[in-house]
Amino acid sequence: MLIETRIGGRQSLPPYQQMKATSPRNDALSEILGTWRTTATLPPHFCDGVWRRIEQEAKSDFAFLACLSAWLESALPRPKIALCYITALLLLGTGSGLWTAKGESHRVNAELRLRYVQSVDPYQAVAQNQ
């Protein structure tokens, strides 16, 4: 919205930045706005429309579940898709198992290494207990 300012130029600043409380022009605008009354009526079923839109917003939360459900119904039972899905989870399971085992293996190795060092070096055992 463009408003002509006191200095005469057309600027693209928002109206609240262009208005000045001391401007007599703004006082006039305020006066006009204060006397403004509308006689227009709301369109038919306006309230129903508002409520319908609110309901649609609420329903959109379940749209993802509905899509998933539809996909399960139509795509997943197809042999190729099902095979891909099972294979993917098989690979994911293998990767996850190996990754977890790697971490555990490191932990056990570190623990046993420390136990050996402490068994042969009493100073290490004392330092560890302190």
């Binding site: 139509s74 099902a82 994911l92 293998t94 198992g97 190996l98 085992a101 046993l112 009493p122 100073y123």
Partner: protein, 155 residues
Amino acid sequence: MKRGALILLLGLLVGTITSYVIYRVSIASQHAMLHEASPELAWLKAEFNLTDAEFDRISKLHSAYLSECHKRCQTIETQNKKLQQLLATNTTVTPEIAILLAERSTTRADCEAAMLKHFLDVSHAMPPAQGERYLSWVEEQTFLRGEGMEKRHHQ
């Protein structure tokens, strides 16, 4: 929907079971080590690829060393107690305290020498390459790296 849901659940089940089985199989040898009579020696065997014969020899060396090490630790403990008693009744370094400190240092030096000898014996009981690796590793991990009070004073 039922068929799709069944496949979905089947996939998740297959993934979970695969993950668990792979984990158990991969970690089996490590967990078996933990349940051995001497887990730390079992680790040594696995880490330095020792044969059964080498492992037996090293296990014997380890047992013999530990028994002597225990005796030396007891001696140091006795000396520590005696020193604490002397320090409780004296406010100066008496000749008796000085002698005891010297004796304790000698016992500690004996302890360190025995430890070093044990490391060398163990490394000799291993194949040459593994023996060298063991020695350099043990030097890093034990008193041999010399990170005692000297290092603290340099900080």
